[in-house]
């Protein structure tokens, strides 16, 4: 059985979520590995939320917002970009590959862009294999205890 990753996506209400909606109404095909969480703005996603998703076993996390300059709230996505640098810096302290996280812009009309981002992320994470936190079971030397303690 091939490994099917679980990917969590935080999508902003005004662009990325609308793009996902459009992809749906246009009957575009994309992997079912993604779980979408609608947020009002990508700028409201605290790095803690991303880290927590990883600690609870997400194999990949996407944060999606409007293109720079097109934010419904003027500069929410600029804030998101600044905040997500924190995730880039912290992800290795969890022992995870930085490729498991991506910040992505797409407008409400770009359903194709949404679909390709999701497909690409799914491929990438599938190649990386399950996250060590997947179902709370360590795959290598680290014990379950180690992981629980790193994720506390």
């Amino acid at each position: 059985m091939t490994f099917e990753p679980k990917i969590l996506a935080f999508t902003c209400n005004w662009c990325a979520y609308a793009a996902a909606d459009l992809a749906g109404t246009a009957r575009m095909q994309y992997p079912t590995n993604i779980r979408v969480v609608r947020v009002m703005c990508s700028g409201m996603v605290h790095p803690n939320l991303v880290m927590e998703a990883f600690q609870h076993g997400a194999d990949g996390v996407l944060v999606m917002g409007c293109h720079p300059g097109e934010c419904h709230y003027q500069d929410g996505n600029v804030k998101a970009r600044a905040r997500m640098i924190v995730v880039d810096q912290m992800i290795e302290s969890l022992g995870l590959a930085p490729e498991r996280f991506r910040l992505f812009w797409c407008s409400s009309a770009e359903a194709d862009r949404f679909v390709s981002a999701v497909s690409e992320m799914t491929d990438r994470v599938r190649r990386l294999g399950p996250s060590p936190y997947h179902q709370g079971v360590g795959l290598s030397g680290e014990t379950k205890e180690d992981l629980e303690c790193a994720s506390r």
């Binding site: 605290h46 790095p47 803690n48 880290m51 804030k79 600044a82 905040r83 640098i85 924190v86 810096q89 912290m90 290795e92 302290s93 022992g95 995870l96 590959a97 490729e99 498991r100 190649r127 990386l128 294999g129 996250s131 060590p132 360590g138 795959l139 290598s140 030397g141 680290e142 180690d146 303690c149 790193a150 994720s151 506390r152």
Partner: protein, 324 residues
């Protein structure tokens, strides 16, 4: 009815016990109800027979167990487990016990590095082998108490303010859940805040902030807004005590160092501080000495050796040559 208390100190410095004695008149009031049955720090009750007839240790049973310090070696671990068996309620006293504290900074280094550094690289003494007898074997890193045993009450602080030690003891004597501060240091800080956005870069505390020492603290500009790295936003309040005028470091007009640990029990001071700075337009890649944000809360796997890797990284490295 008298309550019996057993107190132990593990990987710690005795500062918490000093704070306990600093409770003043409250301590005398407590002693009417509490009776200390075991406390190696203050009472002459040792575990080992001097010439080694007994190998193990025997603790008396107690209603309340107070443990300061984290767990670093096998003796600490055995003592902590014995305390858990003999005490009905365990209080983790001090930041070492709740979050690892200063000693958890060693989690950035391996035991081999530690011994090499300590026994074989100092200039002034001859090199020696790593001790193999008498010293209890070290664990692989410093642990907070609740990583190894169940803890009922967490009382952070370096040391915890006597007011809060008193509050915990009083609450437990009355059979209540202790109430401790839940806000951040900033929430209790009187310094003058003018708003976000003016500062682009943070600097280390090497020069004094601009202030006039004769003016009250309410006229001092917030130290973060002065561009100084102050841990106030991500540190739990409490160092000022119940009636204190201001957090203790702020009162000395230096930035908060974060000694009470994260605001929420499971918070991460490093992550929260980076987020706070990044959200305010400060380039976090320019920050010196980032690990120091975990100066007091490095246990729970927060601080790791730089080469710490899980399978994810190893897998990627072995996979990389093929994909190229």
């Amino acid at each position: 009815m008298r309550l019996t208390v057993a107190a132990e100190w593990l990987n710690s410095c005795a500062g918490c016990e000093m704070s306990l004695l600093n409770m003043g008149e409250d301590f005398i009031a407590c002693l009417r109800i509490l009776s200390f049955v075991h406390m190696p720090m203050l009472i002459d009750h040792k575990y080992f027979e001097p010439m080694g007839e007994k190998i193990g240790f025997e603790f008396p049973e107690a209603d309340l167990g107070i443990i300061s310090g984290g767990i670093r070696n096998e003796e600490h671990l055995a003592i902590a487990e014995e305390m858990r068996r003999k005490c009905r309620v365990i209080v983790a006293m001090g930041t070492c016990a709740t979050h690892g504290g200063i000693p958890a900074l060693i989690n950035m280094f391996s035991n081999d590095e530690l011994f090499r550094r300590y026994y074989r690289t100092t200039v002034a003494t001859d090199a020696a082998d790593t001790p193999a007898v008498v010293v209890p074997p070290l664990l692989d890193r410093t642990y907070a108490l609740d990583e190894k045993i169940r803890v009922d009450v967490h009382l952070p602080g370096c040391p915890p303010h006597p007011d809060h030690i008193s509050a915990v003891l009083t609450a437990l004597m009355n059979g209540e859940q202790p109430r401790l501060p839940t806000k951040s240091v900033c929430d209790t800080c009187p310094a003058r805040r003018e708003g976000k956005g003016a500062v682009q870069k943070m600097r280390r505390y090497t020069r004094n902030p601009r202030h006039q020492a004769d003016k009250p603290l309410t006229e001092m500009k917030c130290l973060l807004e002065n561009g100084l790295l102050c841990m106030g936003p991500v540190t739990r309040a409490g160092c000022a005590g119940e009636k204190g005028e201001a957090p203790q470091c702020i009162r000395a007009r230096v930035p908060c160092r974060g000694c009470y640990g994260p605001v929420q029990k499971n918070g991460n001071q490093l992550l929260d501080m980076l987020n706070a700075l990044a959200s305010n337009g400060i380039d976090i890649r320019s920050l010196p000495d980032r690990q120091a944000f975990l100066r007091f809360s490095g246990a729970h796997g927060r601080l790791n050796r730089p080469g710490w890797k899980t399978r994810d990284r190893q897998q990627e490295e072995t996979a990389a040559p093929e994909s190229r």
